[in-house]
Amino acid sequence: MGSVNIAQARKSYGALEVLHGVSVNIANGEFVVLVGPSGCGKSTLLRMIAGLEAISGGEIAIDGKVVNTLAPKERDIAMVFQSYALYPHMTVEANMGFSLRLGGAPKDAIKARVAEAAKMLGLEDYLKRYPRHLSGGQRQRVAMGRAMVRKPKVFLFDEPLSNLDAKLRVQMRSEIKRNHQRLKTTTVYVTHDQIEAMTMADRIVVMNGGVVEQVGSPLELYDRPANLFVAGFIGSPSMNILSGRLENGTFMTADGTAFAVPGMASFGNRDVRLGIRPEHLCLDPNGLRAEIVTVEPTGSETQVMMRLGGHDVVGVFRERVVNAPGEMLPVSIDAERAHIFDPQTGKRLEA
């Protein structure tokens, strides 16, 4: 097991820099998820840790040892690819044992290690099959097994669940998490799916445009997003962002919709962006009047898109909303849970 220390890592392709000095420290045994929209550099960073992409600047250290110039095989890492990258001409057993075989391990040792991993992943009955005979979920397990057999210092996952259907994805998600709890191997996991990030990670690194936007535990990011990007990216449906002005502790939008925001008086009078999560809107007969745009019942709750203060706002209510589009819905905003951001820098403003 090992830690991963990334210090000011940069990556450029010619004159184009895609990673602008990323620093992340990952502790031994930690499960860290790199999340961000496509093109944010998360996969590039993962491949730099793996040694599949050269490091243009900065330093990456695994278990305290700088690995910048080391080949992938010298870094003691194992990687699970999005496509799984199973060797099509090898059986499941040969796939899983391949790295040990290359390393010159004795046959019975390989067999034992493969059997151990197969047992953990429920693959015992499939060892003699070829990848093409397996379903997507089974291939995914083999890919994990191939990584586990090596007992590496660090597991790297590159969007491993994106080729699976929704149900299987949820199942594999908890399987990966359970395996991590058993093996306690340091894991770096790349995904563009913030739900995967929230459910699996010990810590999340939110990336955007080649920089790290925020690092923190899932709930820290959810409760205290450092900027508008993180606020909008983490959480589903995403946070509502209202433009307006704070005056004497009251938030007012351009059309005059106003409500008190407690504890914000210290900001004085200024333009702000106010973020409010959909579940922090509640139905309230004395509340603000919002015009319903769409109503989406999911059974356990109802998502309502409405116009409020000149913005499209989504509310998630435990109650069943039976009103039709066009009708007015009285809602109040749990302003204590509101997030205030600077409209220019997008940074979070703290009271």
């Binding site: 992938p72 095989k73 990687m79 690819f81 060797y87 099509p88 790295s99 191939r146």
Partner: protein, 286 residues
């Protein structure tokens, strides 16, 4: 007319042409092989006559040598060239084009050029090798019984390995990059990538190409006929050339037909065995 017979009408012209160009010659060869010059039926006389000729077994072994030797080196060099051309290096595009040249050069031109290059007195090969002191005196490459076959095999390999290289290269380029990366993470060095990723992945291409080479090899006349005509002393006489000479130099079409029929049967057996043995091995990539 229903749908099916309308279709038949459409393919009929092509079928007629095909029948005239392929079926008729095959059938006529079969007929020739059991008749004499006057067209009278003679049973298997032609077969026993041609089998009794001293040249026949020698031509048979020469053919095996020529085809076997050519194919081994064509496949080995072709695959090696493909792997090399699949690497990233400066000027790769140019090298790829140059590699293809031998295959583009017409066979008769290549044969004539090589014949001159291997010429005992005026050939550049003897000139360079004696000049550099590699050999003390000129070698009669094409007149010496022990060197002539290897030389012809070498020329044939030179002519056809680019074809193998191009086919295998196409196969290599279809291998997903992920597999190489997975292998690299798993600890494979370059040679392990070659043996555990590249070769297994292009196996089906190599099998198909080898089959083509077998068929072409068994039918090849141009290079040998243009350079040695089967000589010296029948050392490079392979069965197709024996058939050609029987028919057009000795004008014994009936014996030539008999030999053709037997050669066809042997070639068919070899091809069938090859397909059975190699093309259906389990663990094939899909």
């Amino acid at each position: 007319m229903d749908r099916n017979s309308t279709g038949l009408v459409f393919v009929l012209p092509a079928l007629i042409v095909l029948a005239m160009l392929v079926a008729y010659p095959v059938a006529y060869t079969g007929l020739l092989s059991v008749t004499d010059r006057q067209g009278a039926f003679v049973g298997l006389d032609n077969f026993s006559a041609v089998l009794g000729a001293r040249a026949t077994p020698q031509a048979f072994w020469n053919t095996l040598w020529f085809v076997g030797g050519s194919i081994v080196f064509q496949v080995v060099f072709g695959t090696a060239a493909a792997i090399l051309l699949n690497q990233n290096f400066i000027g790769r595009g140019i090298v790829r084009s140059i590699t293809l040249l031998p295959w583009v050069v017409p066979g008769i031109v290549a044969a004539t050029t090589w014949a001159w290059m291997f010429h005992t007195e005026f050939g550049i090969i003897n000139y360079m090798m004696t000049g550099a002191g590699v050999i003390p005196e000129p070698i009669g490459w094409l007149t010496n019984g022990s060197t002539v076959m290897p030389v012809l095999i070498a020329i044939n390999v030179w002519k056809l390995f680019p074809f193998v290289a191009i086919m295998v290269l196409a196969g290599l380029q279809s291998i997903p990059n992920d597999l190489y990366e997975a292998a690299r993470v798993d600890g494979a060095n370059f040679w392990q990538e070659v043996f555990h990723i590249m070769l297994p992945q292009v196996r089906s291409v190599i099998v198909a190409v080898t089959l083509l080479l077998v068929i072409w090899g068994l039918n090849s006349i141009t290079i040998i006929y243009a350079i040695t005509r089967g000589g010296p002393a029948n050392r490079t006489l392979i069965t197709p050339i024996q058939i050609f000479r029987l028919a057009f130099e000795s004008t014994n079409f009936n014996q030539a037909a008999a030999l053709s029929v037997m050669f066809f049967a042997v070639a068919l057996v070899i091809v069938i065995i090859y397909i059975k043995a190699l093309a259906s091995t389990p663990g094939e990539v899909k």
